[in-house]
């Protein structure tokens, strides 16, 4: 167990490309921290630098207060679970899990005891004498976890450990990874590109983009108080809706109509020295079918009318999609998010508003619907810098 500190850690490749720039993260002892971001954001590079599989070009990595930049992986006492599991195919499950202990020259009795113990935790007892080739994906994944936990390392590093599993198994394994981490209370750094895993697993989440840390915080905090457009768009599913707007005297003009800002929002924007042109963001669940909102709230909120493009009924809730005339342009961050989600290639999807409505809503495809939303929930962003003007952290 250990705390891990990344102090201005930088990775520069010989060709000049900078994969990670001055990353500062302090990971407390026993903490479960998630590095999340779209592909190419530097999260795996950061993990490999902590592991010692890649050299650190600048800054300092401290494990337990000691500089670890030059230490080889074996001297760092850190275990890693790979995306591909990387099980040794010529060894049985038992030997795979015993391998780190054998290298550490632990005596046979202890090795057996520890392997049995780990197998017990991961429910692998019946499979100990099988070869990895004969195991299912989920079992292989557990063997990889077992190999990491047998030697009680200072920290676990996990590189997208669940991304090769099918959706159902991924859900189950997500819960068991979380339970296991709490049970063992070992510092864990977990890399993923899946924002659901990031939201559900970690004590804290680090959002990365292009090698830069965008924001660090608890999942709930990132959700409620995203520091910028990128975090706002990345965290949450379905993601936040963005519309361009003009701000004048505390009134927002956009395709959602003319909205009077609430005092709190207005104060924050003024304090941030907000420009006239902004991007307004609002999450799907902050919309509601106007007929289902009681009179009192309706007064306080704002509404807009539009034709329902597509309606998805999930049983417990309904997702209504609206097309807007106005295109959102000029934000590099949104373009990257769209590219990552793959929606950049889908024609016309850039200007869709997604709303989550109560299942009781009478919304129907092709019919007009009046939708209510709470201006208190609006987040306003600077289109140039992407900064959240309503950030209250």
């Amino acid at each position: 167990m250990a705390e891990i500190v990344l102090d201005k850690v930088t990775k520069r490749y010989p060709d000049g490309a900078q994969a990670v720039s001055e990353m500062n993260i302090e990971i407390a002892d026993g903490e479960f921290i998630i590095l999340v971001g779209p592909s190419g954001c530097g999260k795996s590079t950061a993990l490999n630098m902590i592991a010692g599989l890649e050299d650190i070009s600048g800054g300092e990595l401290r494990i337990d207060g000691q500089r670890a930049n030059e230490k080889s992986p074996k001297d760092r006492d850190i275990a890693m679970v790979f995306q591909s599991y990387a099980l040794y195919p010529h060894m049985s499950v038992r030997e795979n899990m015993a391998f780190p202990l054998r290298l550490a020259k632990v005596d046979d009795a202890t090795v057996n005891e520890k392997v049995e113990e780990a197998a017990q935790i991961l429910d692998l007892n019946q499979h100990l004498d099988r070869r990895p080739a004969n195991l299912s994906g989920g079992q292989r994944q557990r063997v990889a976890m077992g190999r990491a936990i047998v030697r009680s390392p200072k920290a676990f590093l996990m590189d997208e450990p669940l991304s090769n599993l099918d959706a159902k198994l991924r859900g189950q394994m997500r819960t068991s990874v979380s339970k296991l981490q709490k049970q063992l209370a070992v510092t864990t750094v977990y890399v993923t590109h899946d924002q659901t895993e990031a939201m559900t697993l970690g004590d804290r989440v680090v959002v990365l983009r292009g090698g830069h840390v965008q924001q660090i915080g608890s999942p709930q905090f990132l959700y409620e108080q995203p520091a910028n457009l990128f975090v706002a768009g990345f965290i949450g599913s379905p993601s936040m809706n963005f519309v361009p707007g003009t701000l004048e005297d505390g009134v927002l003009k956009s395709v959602l109509g003319t909205t009077v800002l609430t005092d709190r929002v207005r104060r924050l924007v003024e304090a941030a020295g907000g420009p006239r042109e902004v991007i307004a963001g609002i999450r799907p669940e902050h919309f509601e079918d106007v007929s289902l909102v009681d009179e009192k709230h309706r007064e306080a909120g704002a509404t807009f009318r539009s034709t329902v493009d597509v309606l998805e009924s999930m049983g417990a809730e309904k997702y209504a999609y609206f097309s807007l005339d106005e295109q959102l342009t000029g934000s590099e961050e949104l373009a990257e998010l769209a590219a990552d989600a793959g929606s950049a290639d889908v024609p016309g999807s850039g200007s869709t508003i997604v709303t989550r409505l109560d299942a009781a809503s009478a919304a129907a495809e092709g019919r007009e619907l009046e939708v209510w939303f709470d201006p208190e929930r609006l987040q306003l962003f600077d289109p140039k810098s992407g900064k959240n003007l309503t950030f209250d952290g």
């Binding site: 599989l53 992986p73 074996k74 599991y85 990895p132 190999r147």
Partner: protein
């Protein structure tokens, strides 16, 4: 029904093709074997199956040092050359497959160049060099050129095997606390074993079959290998045709190769690395 006859027709065509290939490849071998079992009087009768069976030819070749000594040379030289070439080839191939270093393309290019170099053009210089150095007609005098020409083959074959071993296994071994040497010995080498054996067979055959260097760089039985020695075979008198004994010797020197392949074939298990990583 039509489908079935179609597949039956296909099967028949393939079977016919296979038979032609097998016959084409095996008839000369069997012919040699048949010659070696014929007695001196019937050797030129043109029969495929000998009318008079005899093992006299085999007795004759093993009765003289003219064959036994070269056989010993052949085995020794080919084994040593194979061993050295495979060890060096493993190191080079590992570097080629895994590391980025300046001059890597050059190294691969040069080894390809060596493999394609016409050996005959090297015979005269090698002859002179070896005579000056005192390597002429010695075991090292043959082992060295064999290693040189076997290395490109070894590097090419081995590096393609190394490339198939998932890179992450080595990272995993490092994370599990292995030194680079331990990672290589305990994880990479066992997985590369099929490739190593395949390469060993190919290199061994290359050395075993060589005639050009064997005839040019040797002069006595001290280092003459079997392919060269065969050409020096004579009959009991100079008027006698040594066809029978040459055939017998040819059959005998084929046996080690067959044994070698059969022995290592068990080790060449396809798909040994399956289950290591997903996919």
């Amino acid at each position: 029904m039509a489908m079935q006859t179609a597949t039956a027709g296909r099967k028949a065509r393939w079977a016919l093709l296979d038979i032609i290939v097998v016959v084409y490849a095996l008839v000369p071998v069997l012919w040699i074997a048949s010659l070696s079992l014929k007695s001196k009087d019937t050797i030129a009768d043109g029969n495929f199956i000998p009318r008079e069976w005899t093992l006299q030819n085999y007795k004759d070749i093993f009765a003289t040092t003219e064959f036994i000594r070269p056989l010993f040379n052949s085995i020794g030289i080919a084994l040593i050359a194979t061993f050295v070439a495979v060890i060096l080839g493993m190191m080079a191939a590992y570097a080629v497959a895994r590391l980025e270093f300046p001059g890597k393309k050059l190294l691969v290019g040069v080894s390809l160049l060596i493999a394609m170099f016409p050996q005959i053009s090297l015979v005269t210089p090698l002859f002179n060099i070896e005579r000056e150095l005192g390597l002429f007609d010695t075991w090292p005098g043959l082992i060295l050129p064999y290693i040189t020409f076997a290395l490109p083959l070894a590097i090419y074959t081995l590096s393609s095997f190394f490339r198939e071993i998932p890179w992450e296994l080595e990272k995993a071994a490092k994370m599990d606390g292995a030194t680079p040497a331990q990672a290589f010995r305990k994880v990479i080498a066992p997985l590369a074993a099929p490739g190593v054996f395949t390469t060993a067979i190919l290199v061994f055959i290359l050395c075993w079959n060589d005639f050009l260097f064997a005839i040019s760089l040797t002069s006595t039985e001290a280092s003459r290998t079997v392919p060269a020695a065969l050409s020096f075979f004579t009959g009991a008198s100079q008027f006698e045709d040594p066809t029978g004994t040459i055939s017998a010797a040819a059959v005998v020197i084929t046996i080690p190769i067959i044994l070698f392949v059969l022995f290592f074939q068990r080790r060449i298990v396809a798909g040994l690395t399956s289950g290591a990583v997903k996919g």
